[in-house]
Every structure is written in structure tokens, then in C-alpha cells.
């Protein structure tokens, strides 16, 4: 009867490991959600005229734009930079690309399993709205989506476009794969002078 405590301990250990792994995942998802909530507040302050508002005191990033996809109920605050730390909290704006909403190609990156999961559902013609402080809204329409190899692909940055980047395939288990899913959207010229 001595092996029974051993079997019991093993079962408990496996259960604990499972709980820990799930906890890690929950923490990642929770962080992604909670941060967006805090970011909405920082965004409101940014619209109020403050510059580079840090959403929490130790943050090394700040909101630069708001990304909305009305057809898919997406409403995200975009952060400055694309470091791993930044992308945990929201989609990031690549510093080397054009400023959000400005002329030129705007590049936004996000995680395929949190904020940018919706990229998979985007279809040609879907409308994307980018808001930024003190400037009119920029409206884009999805033109196409392509899969590229990040080791070899380059993105043209001379046209006025919005590029959304995430990892591919969406269902892959491990991060750090070489493929990227790239959604390319072009300016939508709807009714003239829309705010």
C-alpha cells in the first residue's frame, strides 16, 4: 500500500503543473485585456492635449493611435514601438514607418493570439479606421493579405498604406516562427472631407 501515496503525489504534481501552465496563459491574456483598459484612459488624456502619456508609471511606451475595425468590433489602442514588452499590452507602431495616420506607409504589429487575432477574419474591402490626436481620422480599406517569410521579405514604404503585421500561421503552437501574415490596406476615399 506504500505506492499509493506515490501515485497520488504524481497526480497532484501533474495537476499543479497543468494549473501553472494555464495560469501563465491566463496571465498573458489578462495582461493584454487589462492593459487596453488602462490604455483607453491614457488615450483620453492624449486627446486632451498631453503628449506621450504613460499608461502606468513604469511604462516605456505610450499610446500613439486608436485602431478600429467597425465590421469586427475591434477597438484597440496602438502603442509606440514593437518590442516584445510593448506588444504584450497592445499592437505597436513600428518607429521606422510613417507616423500613424500620416502620408506614407504606416506599419502596425500585433500578436496573432491576442490583439491581432482578428486579422484572420479580415476580408478585402473591410474598413479600418485609424484615429490619432488632433488630426482627421484616416480610413483604409483592406486590399489583400499575404504571407511572407520575415527573413527575406521587405515592405515597400513609399506608398500611402496601412500595413498590419502578425505571426503566421494563426494556429501554430510555438511563438517565434519565421512567417508573417501581412494585411495591406489602402486609403478609402469615401465622402469628401469626412472628419
Amino acid at each position: 500500500m506504500r505506492r499509493r501515496p506515490f501515485v497520488g503525489a504524481l497526480a497532484a504534481l501533474v495537476l499543479a503543473a497543468g494549473a501553472w501552465q494555464l495560469g501563465e496563459a491566463v496571465w498573458i491574456y489578462l495582461k493584454a485585456r487589462l492593459a487596453q483598459h488602462l490604455l483607453q484612459r491614457a488615450w483620453a488624456q492624449t486627446l486632451g492635449g498631453e503628449v506621450d502619456v504613460k499608461p502606468w508609471p513604469w511604462a516605456d511606451t505610450w499610446p500613439v493611435a486608436r485602431l478600429r475595425v467597425p465590421g469586427h468590433g475591434v477597438d484597440l489602442i496602438v502603442l509606440a514601438g514593437v518590442s516584445g514588452r510593448t506588444l504584450a499590452f497592445g499592437p505597436g507602431h513600428a518607429g521606422e514607418s510613417a507616423a500613424a495616420g500620416a502620408a506614407g506607409t504606416v506599419i502596425l504589429s500585433g500578436h496573432r493570439d491576442t490583439h491581432f487575432r482578428f486579422l484572420e477574419r479580415l476580408r478585402a474591402g473591410d474598413e479600418i479606421v485609424v484615429e490619432r490626436p488632433h488630426r482627421p481620422r484616416a480610413r483604409y480599406r483592406v486590399r489583400e493579405a499575404v504571407v511572407v517569410d520575415a527573413r527575406s521579405a521587405r515592405i515597400r514604404t513609399d506608398e500611402e498604406r496601412l500595413v498590419l503585421l502578425t505571426c503566421y500561421p494563426f494556429a501554430a503552437m510555438t511563438p517565434r516562427g519565421p512567417l508573417r501574415y501581412v494585411v495591406i490596406a489602402e486609403p478609402a476615399f469615401t465622402s469628401a472631407g469626412s472628419p
Partner: protein, 698 residues
């Protein structure tokens, strides 16, 4: 323990192992599966091949991914005195079932004179010939179409070359041997030999050219870098392991007793041969081609050469190579002059990791050495340029502390947009009573060298530009040439442990006056072509090194120059020793000088370069080496696939920082999967345990 329980436990443990391993491996296979799946069109979107140049893309959609040829390199270096003769033996193997063409972009020292190519097919050796670049390419292409073994070596930059090998048979190797020579760097009593191993990824500014490139680079060519596709080979993700093993053997005949002999960045085995020569090999046999090899040796103090003159007579001309270390170097004990020092720090993505740490350490030392009479500023650049102070300030302890805090907080990301930082530092103004020195710390990871050189030449004024190369594989051609146009010096720092010693040496140079307006006179010799022309300024500890071509030898050589405002002169008696390879060395310098002309028309330069290169059998930007076999080897009808060979990322570089526009995924799905598997198995074990308890109780 009953057999029943024991076997059940084993089964449980086994099942957990299998499932966890299965989950992990299927997660790992996600990439490959994704690659295969991406050919399948999705509703509403149009997957499109934009990954030009990537190996997988050429074969995507086929049942099997054809593996690219692999490469191993053996390097044999023979050093005699000041000249190194190097044979690079590249063995291309083809593991696939198709005939293959391999294209490999690789670096050589920026002063390398490449003069031989041998293609080895089985027992036969086909010697390469130098031809005008387009003609060489045409003859290679023709051989490629006809199914013949052929090889082509082209020069893309003074330090970047491409080997193409056509018709590598399935499962068989082809060996290409390239031979070059170069002279050694001798500075502060130390000889240095560098063998670069990898062409680091470079930042390519400009607007992309829509026409497809003929080469297999990572990216398209641009208006500012028209040959970008040729100098950006595909880069291997370090997570997939390093490739391109290299072995190095050096036979060193220094001619004098040595007090030191070491390789700062690699472990080596040194054997002392009976005749005063040394045999050096890598301790590990081979290393991946991901960081430059350097060998340093120092003659014993009494034997340190102060003058060396070698001559070679060929084709009716006398070629000479002269090295003179001015006695005691330029004078040390001159009064200290107030300086204005502008530091430029590269904080682009390629500097991420060890490189930026080395640069920060070097900068901290440099700022700490300034005195309150000096003025300074720190400029940093990546995609944008920024400075700690709007205008240079006095180096008071307070300002130094502010600058150091600023430097410490810097992080590396973004592109290498170098021009605005350079133009900000080199403002072309007059600086009365001050030495103005610009110290530029970078890995030189740029492709638009020509544009930057032009800016340096135009805006230098009274400033002097000193470049410090950082990291495991800096673009030393860019930094050496930038320092030459900037009339300063180039320092290479390969590891953090060297920062102190190298910065100390550099500061001794910065603080001592330079020997300027150097001229070499060869009395009694009619017309002599002396190179380099003009001779660069000489800093403390540096020797004068010149090569010339003349009809005869002079009785003595006179050096004249200006040192700290006074006339300076030094007479060297001529006691020549016979040397070899001096004609090749002179011709290589001549080509560099021709390419350096600013006024001449590009066509005239091209013709002059071709003229010299053909006469002396050298690879140049306008001439290539080509070797073509006589009989076709590839059967008619068999396909030929072209592969751009991957290069390693230089050691210490961060893949995501260079290529990333961020990683697009978290570990959450993996955590969920592992968590669920563990919970299911824990649950099953728990239920089994309960059932057994119930059964026993009953």
C-alpha cells in the same frame, strides 16, 4: 508493488511522455506545416509570393523542399613578413536530387587582391581567367546553360565578393579555390591579420526598384543602393543552428622573434616550428562563419621593425613596398591642445546586444577622459538623430554626468540612417585654437557607402573623423575608408574586454599631434607612381606605408611632412630585400586610387581599372574571374535550381532586433495546450486512484 499497479503507472508515465513530446514536436513543426499550407488560397485573400530570394519560396508548392547546397570553407594563410597569401577553399555540396547552382556572398579583407580562381572537379583543375565583368558573366551564363561546370567570382564591394558555381551534380561536391594576398596592418608595434567571415545584414535606404533583381538578395535594390540585391544574402535564423563551417590554418614566418602571438576572438593551437615559423590552427577544428578571425602578434621590443623595404622587378618595372616607423613616432610631449570632441553613437537595430554594450563602455571611458577645457557632445542615431546637448558644452563633471546618464539609457532599434548624424557632426565650420575630433562608433551596417563618403569629403573642414568598429563582423571597408576621407584613424573593438586597451591607444593618438602633409621623395628616379596619393596623416605609433612603381631604385628615400606646425624630415637608406607579390599589391592600390577619383568620368575610370586589372590579373568592380569546364556534365533535360546560400547572423546580433517588426505571437497557446494535457492526465490518474481505493475498500 503488484504487477498490475506497476504496469499501470508505467503506462501512465509513458503516455504522458508521448503526449507532451508529441505536443511539443507538433508545435515545432507548425512552421513547416504553415509553409506548406500557405500555398492554399484563403477565401477573400490572395496569398502572393513576395519572399523573393528565400530558399523555401523557390520550391514552395512542391512535394519536397529541395535543400540548398551546403558549404564548408578551409582557409590556408601563409604570412611572410608583411604580406599574407591566402587560399580560400570553398566546397559546395549538393544534398538534393536536382542539379544545383550555388550563389554565396562572402567577405574578404578590404585590401585583398584576388588573383586566382581554381575550379576542382574530381581530379581535374580548371584555372580561372580574369575578364571584363560583363564578358565573364556572359561566359559563365553560357556554360551554365550548356550544363558545364563553371565558377564565377565577382567583387561587389572592396570587401564583399560573390562566388557562383553552376551545375553542382546531385550528391557530389564541387570545390572552388580562391587566392588573394594582402598586406598586414602594423600599428603601435603590433601586427594584425583579419579574416572576415560573414557579410552582416546592412541597412539599405532608398526607394525600392520595382524591376526584379538578377541576384538573390533579401531585398530589392533601391535608388540609393542600386546593387542592394547583390550584397544582402539570405540570413539564417540562429534558432536553426549555425551553418557554413570554416577551418583556418596559418603558417606565420614573422622573420623576427615574437613577444606575443594570440587570436583575440577564437581559441587557437599554436605550434612553434624549428625554423622560427609558427603554425596556428583553430582549437575547435572548425567554427561557424559568424565572427571575424583576427590574429595579432608583437615582435620582441628590440626586434620591432622600424624600416622595411621590399622590391620586385617584373616586366621592366621595379615595384617597391616601403614601411617606415618614424623614430619615436610623432613627438609625444607637446602641450595639450583644447579639443572639441563630438561622439556619434549608432543605436540602430544591428547594434542590439553586445555591440551596444561595447560602444557604451567605450563612450563612458572617452567622456571620462575629457577635461573642463574641452567641449563635447554626444549624438546618437537610428531612424532618427538625437543629441544630448543642442550645442557642444564644456566637459565639466556635471555635463559629463548628464551625458553618461543619457548614454546609459540608450537602446538599439530601428534603421541605420547615418547621413543626418554625420552632417550634424561635420558642419564644416572653422575652429580657432581647438582640435575638432569626431569619434564615430558603429558597426557600419550600411549599403549606401558612396553617399556617406561624399558627405564626409565635402563637409570635413578642419574636423577629423575617427571611426571605431564595434561588434563581431563590422563593415570594416566602410569604417577604414570613412576614417581615411575624414583624415583620422580606424580602431576595431571586437569584444568588451578589449574596450579599455583599445580606447587607451586611441586616446593617445587623439591627444598627440599628427604628422601631416606627408610626401615621399625618390631622388634620382625619373617618374615614379607612389601610392597612396596623397599619403594619409600619421598618428602616434603608425608607420608610413607606401608602394611605388618606377624604372629603377633610388639610393635613399626622403620623407617630408609637418609635425605640430614645424617641418619634419626623415631619410631612409635603401637596403632592399627581394619580395614577391609586390606588383599585385601595387596594382591593387592603383585600382583603389582610380576608383577614388572624384572628377574623372565613370567610363574613363572603368576603362582604366579594367586595363590595370587585366594586366595584373586581378578581380575588381569591373573585372571578374571565371573558370569554365570543357565538356558538359549535366544531361539535357535535367533542371538546374539556383540557390542563394544562407549566411549566419554575426555573433551577438539579435535576430528579432534586426529583422523584427516585432514578434507576432505570445507563448499563450503553448501554455494552454501543455496545461490542458497535464490537467487531463492528472485527472485520469486521480480517478484511477480513487477507483482503486473504492475497490480495495469493497
Amino acid at each position: 508493488m503488484t504487477i498490475d499497479t506497476r504496469s499501470r503507472m508505467r503506462l501512465l508515465a509513458f503516455a504522458i511522455t508521448v503526449l507532451v513530446a508529441g505536443a511539443l514536436s507538433s508545435a515545432g513543426a507548425g512552421d513547416a506545416a504553415g509553409a506548406a499550407r500557405m500555398a492554399t488560397a484563403r477565401e477573400g485573400v490572395r496569398p502572393r509570393d513576395v519572399g523573393e530570394g528565400a530558399l523555401l519560396w523557390r520550391t514552395a508548392g512542391q512535394d519536397t523542399l529541395a535543400p540548398a547546397p551546403t558549404l564548408r570553407t578551409d582557409v590556408a594563410i601563409t604570412i611572410t613578413g608583411f604580406i599574407a597569401r591566402v587560399t580560400v577553399h570553398q566546397e559546395f555540396s549538393n544534398p538534393s536530387r536536382d542539379w544545383a547552382e550555388g550563389v554565396y556572398v562572402f567577405p574578404l579583407p578590404e585590401t585583398a587582391a584576388v588573383d586566382h580562381l581554381r575550379l576542382r572537379v574530381g581530379e581535374r583543375i580548371i584555372e580561372g581567367v580574369v575578364r571584363e565583368r560583363a564578358a565573364a558573366k556572359a561566359s559563365y551564363d553560357a556554360a551554365k546553360q550548356q550544363g558545364k561546370h563553371a565558377s564565377l567570382v565577382e567583387q561587389e564591394r572592396p570587401n564583399v565578393f560573390t562566388t557562383s558555381v553552376a551545375n553542382i551534380p546531385p550528391g557530389a561536391p564541387i570545390v572552388v579555390e580562391i587566392e588573394y594576398q594582402h598586406t598586414l596592418a602594423y600599428d603601435a608595434g603590433q601586427f594584425r591579420l583579419r579574416f572576415p567571415m560573414v557579410v552582416g545584414p546592412r541597412f539599405i535606404p532608398g526607394t525600392a526598384d520595382p524591376t526584379p533583381p538578377d541576384a538573390s538578395g533579401r531585398g530589392p535594390s533601391t535608388d540609393q543602393v542600386p546593387d542592394a540585391a547583390r550584397i544582402t544574402p539570405p540570413v539564417r535564423d540562429p534558432a536553426r543552428g549555425a551553418i557554413n563551417p570554416v577551418s583556418i590554418r596559418v603558417l606565420l614566418a614573422p622573420g623576427v622573434p615574437l613577444s606575443r602571438l594570440e587570436a583575440p576572438y577564437h581559441a587557437i593551437n599554436t605550434t612553434r616550428l624549428g625554423d622560427g615559423r609558427y603554425e596556428i590552427a583553430l582549437a575547435d577544428g572548425t567554427v561557424p562563419a559568424n565572427r571575424d578571425f583576427e590574429l595579432m602578434w608583437e615582435p620582441a621590443a628590440a626586434a620591432a621593425p622600424t624600416t622595411a623595404l621590399f622590391t620586385e622587378a617584373t616586366g621592366g618595372d621595379v615595384f617597391a613596398w616601403l614601411m617606415v616607423l618614424p623614430p619615436n613616432g610623432p613627438a609625444l610631449d607637446s602641450a595639450r591642445v583644447a579639443r572639441e570632441v563630438i561622439f556619434i553613437l549608432d543605436t540602430s537595430g544591428s547594434m542590439h546586444g553586445a555591440s551596444l554594450e561595447q560602444a557604451k563602455a567605450a563612450l563612458a571611458l572617452a567622456v571620462g577622459r575629457l577635461t573642463p577645457e574641452d567641449r563635447f557632445n554626444v549624438i546618437q542615431f537610428n531612424s532618427v538623430t538625437d543629441a544630448v546637448f543642442a550645442e557642444p558644452r564644456a566637459a565639466t563633471p556635471g555635463n559629463q554626468a548628464v551625458a553618461l546618464r543619457y548614454v546609459n539609457a540608450l537602446r538599439a532599434s530601428g534603421g541605420t540612417v547615418m547621413l543626418p548624424a554625420l552632417t550634424r557632426a561635420l558642419d564644416g565650420q572653422e575652429y580657432q585654437g581647438r582640435l575638432r575630433q569626431v569619434i564615430f562608433l558603429t558597426d557600419g551596417g550600411v549599403g549606401n557607402e558612396a553617399e556617406l563618403f561624399a558627405a564626409i569629403r565635402e563637409r570635413l573642414g578642419q574636423s577629423r573623423l575617427f571611426t571605431i568598429g564595434i561588434g563581431s563582423a563590422p563593415n570594416s571597408h566602410f569604417m577604414r575608408q570613412a576614417a581615411r576621407y575624414g583624415r583620422g584613424t580606424f580602431t576595431y573593438i571586437g569584444s568588451t574586454t578589449e574596450v579599455g586597451a583599445k580606447m587607451e591607444a586611441l586616446f593617445r593618438k587623439l591627444e598627440a599631434p599628427a604628422l601631416t602633409d606627408l610626401r615621399v621623395e625618390l631622388p634620382g628616379v625619373g617618374e615614379a607612381e607612389i601610392l597612396p596619393d596623397p599619403i594619409p596623416d600619421l598618428y602616434l605609433g603608425e608607420p608610413v606605408v607606401v608602394a611605388w612603381r618606377a624604372a629603377s631604385l633610388p639610393a635613399h628615400v626622403t620623407l617630408r611632412g609637418t609635425l605640430a606646425g614645424a617641418e619634419w624630415q626623415h631619410v631612409v637608406p635603401v637596403q632592399p630585400e627581394a619580395g614577391t607579390g609586390l606588383a599585385v599589391h601595387w596594382a591593387r592600390k592603383k585600382i583603389a586610387a582610380l576608383l577614388d577619383q572624384r572628377q574623372a568620368s565613370p567610363d574613363a575610370v572603368r576603362l582604366a581599372v579594367i586595363d590595370v586589372a587585366l594586366k595584373y590579373h586581378l578581380v575588381s568592380p569591373h573585372t571578374s574571374l571565371v573558370a569554365v569546364d570543357v565538356t558538359p556534365a549535366r544531361p539535357d533535360g535535367a533542371d538546374l535550381r539556383t540557390h542563394a546560400l544562407e549566411t549566419n547572423l554575426p555573433e551577438g546580433w539579435d535576430y528579432a532586433a534586426v529583422f523584427g517588426l516585432g514578434q507576432g505571437a505570445t507563448g499563450a497557446p503553448l501554455h494552454v495546450a501543455l496545461g490542458l494535457i497535464a490537467l487531463v492526465f492528472g485527472g485520469v490518474a486521480y480517478v484511477l486512484l480513487r477507483l482503486e481505493l473504492v475497490r480495495r475498500a469493497a
